[in-house]
């Protein structure tokens, strides 16, 4: 086995690993998620997007202070970005019959682009 072959094998192996991680996260997309952050708030919403630093974007997100089951009051945040560094714990509902399944068209309403017009000058310069 030449060096090059060996290298390619290793990279294939890691590639495989990365691919699996990617797949697992992809499976979790659009599933309900319960994230608590360090100041004690709990956020419940569906996972839409994440990256290496665990920055999460949750759709249809509600904010609870303390335990959500005890709290009658909550704040509707809608689309929320949780920076990875503030996350304390993550729970996910993995049920196969998730109502937020990918193919469900009703889900798309979470992130319609209606009022997402950006003032493009703010994004540059």
């Amino acid at each position: 086995m030449t060096d090059i072959e060996q290298k390619s094998l290793i990279s294939e192996k890691t590639d495989h690993h990365v691919e699996q991680a990617r797949k697992q996260i992809k499976d979790w997309l659009n599933k309900p998620m319960r994230v608590s952050i360090i100041d004690g708030r709990v956020l419940v919403g569906v996972l839409l997007c994440t990256d290496r630093d665990q920055n999460l974007i949750l759709g249809n997100c509600n904010e609870y202070i303390g335990s959500p089951s005890e709290q009658e009051e909550f704040r509707v945040l809608g689309l929320a970005l949780i920076p990875g560094q503030h996350i304390q714990s993550i729970y996910i509902e993995e049920g196969p019959s998730s109502i937020f399944s990918h193919s469900n068209p009703s889900h798309t309403s979470i992130t319609t682009t209606n009022d997402h017009m950006l003032d493009d000058d703010k994004s540059d310069g």
Partner: protein, 813 residues
Amino acid sequence: MQETIGNTTYNWTDVTGQFADLCHNLNIGEVVRDRDFTLFEAMTALELMDPKMDGGMSIKNHFQEQKQGNRILTLKQLIEKNLLKISSFTSIELIHLFDQLLSTFHMWLDGHSLALTLFTCVYLHDIPIIEDYHLRTICYTFIKLIDYIRERILLKAGLFEEEDFSGTLTYNFPFYRDMIKDQTCLTDLKKCEDELNKRLRSLKHQTDLNQLDINATQQLIYRIRFLRLFFGLTLKFNEANEKTGEQTYLNSEEISKTLKQIDEILQLIRPSHILEDETTKTDDSTELIIPISLLTDISRSFDPYYNYRQLPPAFNRFIRQLILPSVVYTSLTNLCHQLRKMLEITDKRTLKHSFEFFLEYSTNEKPSLFIRSLLLLSYLPSVQGCLLSSRKIFGQISFAEQVKYEIRLFIVPPLLTLKYITIDNETLNYSENFFQRACVPFSNLFYSLCNNRARTREKLSNLLDEFSVLQDESEKLDQWLHKYFLQHILQANLSTVNHQALLLIEKTSYFFQFILHWTLLIMEYYLLMGFDLSLYSKRELYDVYFYFAQIILFTHVNVYKTSTNILNTTVPFLVQLNQKQQQMNKNQINNVFIQQLNSLIQQHTNDDPLQDLTNDNSSTQKKNKKKNLNGIIPPNIEYHEQEFLLTNGHLSMSTATHRCLKALEIEQRLKFSSNDSNYFLRDEIRYSHRFLPFANLCAPPYMSHADFLQIQHVSDNRYTASELYQDAINNFTHAKTYFENYVNRVTTSKQHQQQTLSRTFTTGFTSLTDVESYIRIAKTNGIVLKLLLSGHKPDVKLDFDFSLHAHYPTLKL
């Protein structure tokens, strides 16, 4: 773990560690997302733990307090439990309540929500329950005041943004519309004042003088008088006529009188200052010291969380600390100052002067939403069901009339200057149509200028589309009128036909030039606002200065030249024509437009270009002028002189800047360019984004990026760095001369004109203070460039410094 939230039960699995591991496998910058989810959407996400975005951040502590049984009590409960009193307040207590209310009012004006400001005062939730007459009146007045500002000023002006007042201007709070009238509040306040004055007198006659009580009563009287005057002042803006429900127009004299009274009262009021620790004594007599022990009876009068349960869930819960009364009173003094300055708009009788005033006011005063709304309503009072374009300036002059008058001032088109021509119906309709259409963009322009600066810029870019349509229209109108007037003038059969003037009239596109003039003004302001808002990156400076100079300002200089030439050449001719026909027509003015404009023209006889020549028995000075104008082209430029100097100054300035950018780039002497071989000129996307609003205009024609590169290739690229340096130096010198001349003209003419007070020191889009900075920049840059040219410090890289003025950089060695 199972958890029921609302109606849904979740089966949670803890994936904290697993998730972190999985994420760690991702590459840097890689994002796992759903197909439907775009990063563009992600931009709109609310970022948690971000102090600016995340309103929930600060609330946690309060919740922990609440859990310990610290429930919010309603006003009724508070009264039942004897926690709050509703009668027999001392003056000190009233002063405290007043200052707190004023502070929350001030916060509300700043754009916070009513629920988190004024209505944190528990009394406001049920005013009739209050037994104390003074407090009840004060509370009613505050309610009426916000109701009026909201209903008749902010909503009428329609300038507020989504985020102002936390996204809502409508509330379910009681406003007692049917119970109390605005005027009742004013009379009630007056009664309070009288009653307190009586009390003050009796206090002074008591044997044992209670100095604190006397002072407090006196201060309370001042406060109530202030509130009465301030409410009265607010009511004067955009007030509805009681019978017709229509607008009453601004009475600036009355308003400035009230402003003066308010100013005097504000001088007398000593802001209250609560002393929590009574052992420390301050000798500061500017503040009214209130020991906290005197306020125990009303300690629960303000509850920041009172409305908490009524707030919609998505509402911002972030509550700011109350502003100190001393700060509130100072900022109210500033408010008065701004209002007084704002009243100067009533002196501005032309669109150009108003435009200049709006620009100057928004730059110098940085007015808040409240003031901007007042400005718009003062300039264009809103009438029920009336479109913006059909509103009248100061409620008197329609835009169509004003535009006609403005064109006449700018370029004396025969249509609007010849008194004795008869205009047939077709021409009349055709031109009237044009003026009516012009109302929309012009009224929009002033509306745009009242928005906040970022929004103004956006609106101006939309406005350019409307002006582009108007350019088309004006061209058509010009073509139509050309034929018409030649016929007419020939028919007049003048014995001494001035051929040159005739030729000029024939060749001039009057209306097009006028519309082009305004288009260019907007374009110039639009580009410069980009600098003011620091939107441009250093990479695109070259593009911006190039476009500004070579396309916009260059065209504008030509427009001014044309207009000046026409004024100089045709005014005597037109006057002659008018005089000739005057005898034939026996003073019967036939021109419908002149008939319409007559009142406007007579109001401003001094400004009218035709006026100084029509009066035959004028002073000798005017006769001299007449002589001068009768010459073919007079040697001195008189019309648009200031504008001409300024536009040329800007032209030289930005030409110099882009020349010197080019030279520095060739020599790789830019500090920030990071060794790119081609630092400027590369970004086609940025280029087209910056100048996109100009793309649809027919004049000045849009220069596409390809053309732009082509021109760079054939012109600037041929020159060496030293040639470019030399050219930049020359241009900076020119700019300096132009600007200095302008300053001289303005300062000398200032001495001549007596009405300096009401003048704006802005011409076009440039104010006098701008010009002073420009001169310094031109001077410095000229010197730096000379050093560079002589080979001084060849290795040192240069940086741009926009600290002297946002519009042009100073070069820093």
